[in-house]
């Protein structure tokens, strides 16, 4: 059985890009609202004490491997109340970060099977494939 032609590419850890993009996104608004991001990650009560009242600000659009992301944050009384994805052209598929399945796919390759599923075979392709197989008979 042939091995796969596909290249293995390392998987980024789950939510890795999101955290990274969140960091960058927040940094980009950090100057405006005085977020000291590194000392106060947004999952805790982040310090946006430089701001007063309720503010909503939008970060720059950040490009990353599978698309773009832009975050909007709302602060009230110096605390981040919400973080919203304004732009996330990343497939939510990557968002959910399913593992790539090359190893499982390759491990299953050597197993015998009765039917082949593929993009709808045309009868012409089927005939050609059949003719090709027949021509290789010893």
């Amino acid at each position: 059985m042939q091995s796969s032609n596909f290249q293995l590419t390392p998987i980024e850890p789950k939510r890795g890009w999101k955290a990274g993009a969140a960091v960058i996104g927040l940094l980009s608004v950090g100057a405006g609202v005085g977020v000291n991001f590194f000392l106060n990650p947004p999952t805790s009560t982040a310090d946006a004490s430089g701001s007063t009242g309720t503010q909503t600000v939008t970060g720059d659009t950040i490009s990353y491997r599978y698309g773009e992301i832009q975050l909007e944050i709302t602060t009230t009384g110096g605390q981040i109340k919400s973080i919203t994805e304004k732009v996330a052209t990343a497939s939510p598929g990557y968002d959910t970060a399913f593992p790539y399945l090359h190893d499982d796919a390759i491990a299953a390759q050597g197993t015998s099977f009765a039917n082949l599923s593929g993009a709808t075979f045309s009868s012409e392709a089927y005939r050609e494939a059949l003719a090709s197989a027949i021509s290789k008979l010893q």
Partner: protein, 265 residues
């Protein structure tokens, strides 16, 4: 008990019925003939390659829905329903705004054809409808529960081969359909793109479901939707899917990993 293996060319593709039957061979043969007659009748009505077909006449504006056989309305309604179910990513309306239910008709007819055998008590067979597979509940031989997934090149290509193998035995799934551009080029349009441009983010999508039509419709819809379909299909109950991206990456819905065939020792 006797084995049967029948290949029928219809709808520009290949249908294969293969399995075991306890009926007299002549009766099995008659059942398969009836099943194939259903396929040819569907082709006669729905083919857009035959200018005289009711559907070609409809697309050309030479008749209306009321002037077509009742089954055309039935398929029209089914397409409508599937369009809603898939959030609009399956659509029978072409970029030219004509009705093209080809994405549904093949597996709809295949399921009716399979029912001919099932209703006569033949329950140990598989049906390969041009690359979309149905496995009847009574299939006994383990190998018949396993389905190879083609590489993302045409089966007529010298590089043709098997990407991987899934095993549906004991999973509750009986059907798998694959959509992609390997055999017929970019024939799937994205109903939601501004000009309904062809989808190009995915090379191939295989969907595993209980019934063939569900698998086929979701495979078509996912291919049109592109990479966002990975999370979309994860939210759909009772299906699993395997995706090949344009860069060759393979991923799937979380449950698909359970369906990979275990290598034989």
């Amino acid at each position: 008990m006797h084995t049967f293996d029948h290949t029928e060319l219809c709808m520009g593709t290949v249908f294969r019925f293969a399995g075991n039957s306890a009926l007299p061979p002549v009766e099995t043969k008659q059942l398969i003939e009836q099943a194939c007659a259903i396929l040819h009748e569907a082709d006669r009505i729905f083919s857009l390659y035959k200018p005289e077909s009711p559907l070609s006449q409809l697309a050309a504006g030479k008749t209306n829905l009321a002037g077509c056989p009742p089954v055309v309305s039935e398929i029209w309604d089914a397409c409508d329903q599937w369009e809603k179910t898939t959030n609009g990513f399956f659509s029978a309306m072409t970029p030219q705004n004509t009705f093209d239910p080809s994405g549904l008709v093949k597996t709809w007819a295949a399921q009716l054809a399979a029912d001919v055998l099932l209703n006569a008590g033949v329950r140990d067979f598989t049906l390969n409808a041009g690359g979309d597979i149905f496995i009847a509940d009574g299939v006994t031989d383990a190998v018949n529960w396993r389905i190879g997934i083609s590489k993302t090149v045409s089966i007529a290509s010298p590089e043709a081969g098997v990407l991987t193998v899934l095993d549906l035995k004991g999973t509750g799934f009986n059907s798998m359909a694959t959509s992609g551009s390997a055999e017929r080029g970019l024939h799937i349009w994205n109903p939601k793109a501004p000009g309904k441009e062809s989808a190009q983010e995915l090379l191939q999508v295989s969907v595993i479901a209980k019934d063939l039509v569900t698998a086929d419709v979701w495979a078509t819809a996912a291919f049109a939707e592109g990479i966002r379909a990975v999370s979309h299909l994860t939210e759909v109950p009772d299906i699993q899917a395997l995706f090949i991206f344009a860069d060759g990456q393979i991923t799937g819905t979380p449950g698909v990993i359970e369906l990979f065939a275990k290598p034989e020792l």
